[in-house]
């Protein structure tokens, strides 16, 4: 099935690297993808990976339990650094979540066929990343059982949440995003759940998939309604791609702290979010296609396109960094200029240089097609970019808070073992969910892949 790759360097032929390897039929697509869920035995690799991820998740529960027992003092935060790892990780995770919606909604509306085989697991990744992200502000309050205070309900306190605070906007932005992403993901799953119901070997599997498929029979009327619903949800999700990280950037830019109070933050945060999101999609896609032999569906075309998106958004992020320097100098504001100077010469300058290396310099290799088509290189690149984006949030949060207006208000920040345990623990939560997802639901949208087969056949004839 996977025919020899055509000579790739001719521009005409390059365009023809398919989004679906030739020779596939409806049957073979469905068989291959549903087989991962229904017939494939649990391999040693899956079990080992799951065990590792699950033990990290257990570490997270210990870290969070200890946090709830002792309070946020177990973390390295203290005035002037009230935010620390919790907010760094929150922004990092929520950024990662952006690729899912971008791929599923915006690329859908733009009719980009290459989104088809990556949208399902990218959306799943979004949901899991939002779950990890949401955890941080919640436990950062120190009293997560009081979190309902943030919702506007008729309380006996006679007051409402502070609607002028970006932190409250965050609550709405993230919860809306989570809800719409979940709905979008689930609606997209319905035809596939019905396929699984029809193919499942055991009665209990049929019952579960059947209940989730909500009576899908694949009639023309079902498809008609399904497509309207999907289109509507895509329309709803599209503005969210831009709004969520814009609101997250307001957490910073609405404050008057030097280094935060700039208008470049919203676009630069959104670009950074998509940048890290695509990096994470690559980090997941590359092992996934290798482990389950999905190279026919997630082809070189997908990997290369994602690399191009990373290159483009990476350049926007680089522009953001540059603009930070420019604006500080152009404004003549001595606090802003001092902050830029602190980026290069302050106590956290190693983080800043590492960030420039990870986010700006290394990704320039993606201009080279050989690199874009080299799978190990892409994988390493995606890890580097994820690291870089984490460093970016660290630099933004820590340098500004430790170098406020008055030297008497300055401070230093270092994370404690509980900070690291919580952060690595959320990586465990994320991977655990991914491992479960890969075996419990079709990681690639079968119904949409069959549509691709149909297109391919039409083009052939």
């Amino acid at each position: 099935m996977s025919a020899a790759q055509p000579p790739v360097n001719h521009p005409e032929i390059r365009r023809l690297v398919p989004v679906l390897a030739p020779g596939h039929t409806y049957e073979s697509v469905t068989e291959k993808i549903s087989g991962v869920v229904l017939t494939r035995p649990l391999g040693l690799g899956w079990l080992a990976g799951f065990a590792l991820a699950f033990s990290l998740l257990m570490m997270l529960t210990v870290a969070v339990a200890w946090l709830i027992a002792k309070g946020v003092g177990i973390w390295g935060i203290n005035i002037p650094i009230g935010w620390g790892f919790a907010i760094v990780n929150f922004v990092w995770w929520i950024g990662i979540g952006h690729a899912g919606t971008l791929i599923s909604a915006i690329l859908f509306l733009l009719n980009q066929k290459w989104r088809t085989s990556i949208n399902r697991f990218a959306e799943a990744m979004t949901l899991f990343a939002v779950a990890c992200a949401g955890l941080f502000p919640l436990i950062h309050t120190g009293r997560p059982w009081m979190a309902y205070y943030m919702f506007p309900y008729p309380s006996t306190m006679g007051i409402w949440p502070q609607f002028r605070s970006p932190l409250i906007w965050d609550v709405f932005a993230v919860s809306t995003y989570g809800t719409v992403s979940l709905l979008f993901w689930f609606v997209g799953l319905i035809p596939d759940l019905a396929t699984l119901r029809d193919r499942a070997p055991h009665q209990w599997q049929r019952m579960i998939f059947g209940a989730l498929a909500m009576g899908w029979r694949g009639s023309a009327r079902h498809w008609h309604r399904y497509q309207s619903a999907y289109m509507l949800l895509a329309g709803l999700a599209t503005p969210l791609v831009l709004s969520v990280h814009t609101v997250v950037s307001f957490d910073f830019s609405v404050a008057i702290v030097p280094g935060w109070h700039t208008t470049i933050f919203p676009p630069y945060f959104v670009a950074g979010a998509i940048y890290s999101g695509f990096a994470m999609v690559l980090t997941i896609a590359i092992p996934l296609r290798a482990a389950y032999g999905l190279q026919d569906f997630i082809t070189m075309r997908h990997l290369e396109n994602m690399a191009k998106v990373m290159l483009a958004t990476g350049l926007i992020v680089a522009y953001g960094y540059f603009f930070e320097w420019f604006l500080a100098g152009y404004s003549g504001n001595k606090f802003d200029m001092f902050l830029v100077q602190q980026r290069f010469h302050g106590p956290y300058s190693p983080y800043y240089f590492a960030l420039i290396l990870c986010n700006i310099l290394t990704p320039q290799l993606l201009w080279i097609q050989k690199v874009r088509r080299n799978i190990p290189a892409l994988f390493v690149m995606s890890l580097i970019i994820n690291t870089g984006m984490w460093l970016e949030r660290f630099v933004i949060v820590v340098i500004s808070l430790t170098r406020d207006f008055m030297p008497s208000a300055w401070g230093r920040y270092s994370a404690t073992v509980w900070d690291y345990a919580t952060f690595v623990g959320t990586l465990g939560l994320f991977t655990t969910l991914l491992f479960l997802f890969a075996r419990a639901l079709p990681a690639i949208a079968m119904a949409e892949m069959r549509e691709l087969v149909a297109h391919q056949t039409e083009e052939h004839e």
Partner: protein
């Protein structure tokens, strides 16, 4: 392949959507109503005290001024619970043999306090001060109700934050002249709107903005 689910599953699915909506509404109503009910706020609840002390008898029938016992109310944060000595000022002579006052005499002779049960319990994070309220024209009965008609003491108000704010957002409706502060039967006059404004100016009551600032009550 036979059908997985019986035909009734369709109805079950539809009804369960409705049920979720109804149950969620009922649940929310129960919770939001519950926290406002006396079960949660302890409003109107009388407590078992070591001695069944009657405010109705002392403040109402005998006409003893509030400050005779609650002496700190004009000068300090707490109104103050009187020492047994205050009781004995009268009860060394009056009803000095009555059985149900035995705990008072015992407290006096052994020099130990009577363990009254607190009725008005504010949250620890509220910095409440009696003197500022009394000195700025808020009478006892505005918060404590008509104590002169209570045989057993109970909490007349909810003591919830929205109840506090109800007055802090519009204090003029409750302002009294100095002579009426300890008058249990005071009712707002028909011209309270104008009177309140004058009194607010006279007492120098801070602006609503100040009165509703977080740190006015939470420090």
């Amino acid at each position: 392949m036979p059908q997985l689910f019986h035909r009734s599953a369709n109805s079950t699915a539809r009804i369960s959507i409705l049920a979720v909506v109804i149950l969620a509404t009922l649940g929310l109503t129960a919770v939001l109503g519950g926290v406002r009910s006396p079960n949660f706020t302890n409003q109107y609840l009388t407590r078992d005290q070591p001695i069944q002390f009657s405010h109705k008898h002392h403040a109402g029938d005998d006409g003893i001024d509030c400050r005779y016992c609650h002496a700190g109310v004009e000068t300090s944060a707490t109104a103050g619970i009187p020492p047994t000595k205050t009781c004995m000022n009268c009860h060394s002579v009056l009803f000095n043999n009555v059985g149900y006052l035995a705990p008072v005499r015992e407290s006096y002779s052994t020099n130990t306090s009577i363990q009254w049960v607190k009725v008005h319990r504010l949250a620890d994070y509220v910095y409440f001060n009696h003197s500022i309220h009394v000195n700025k024209g808020i009478g006892c009965s505005t918060c404590h109700g008509q104590v002169n008609q209570m045989p057993l003491m109970f909490q007349a108000s909810t003591l919830q934050m929205q109840w506090c704010l109800d007055c802090h957002r519009d204090p003029e409706k409750n302002l009294r002249e100095k002579k009426d502060i300890f008058n249990m039967d005071w009712k707002p006059a028909p011209d309270q709107a104008e009177k309140g404004k004058l009194l607010a100016a006279q007492y120098n009551v801070r602006s609503v903005r100040d009165l509703t600032s977080c740190s006015t009550c939470h420090r």
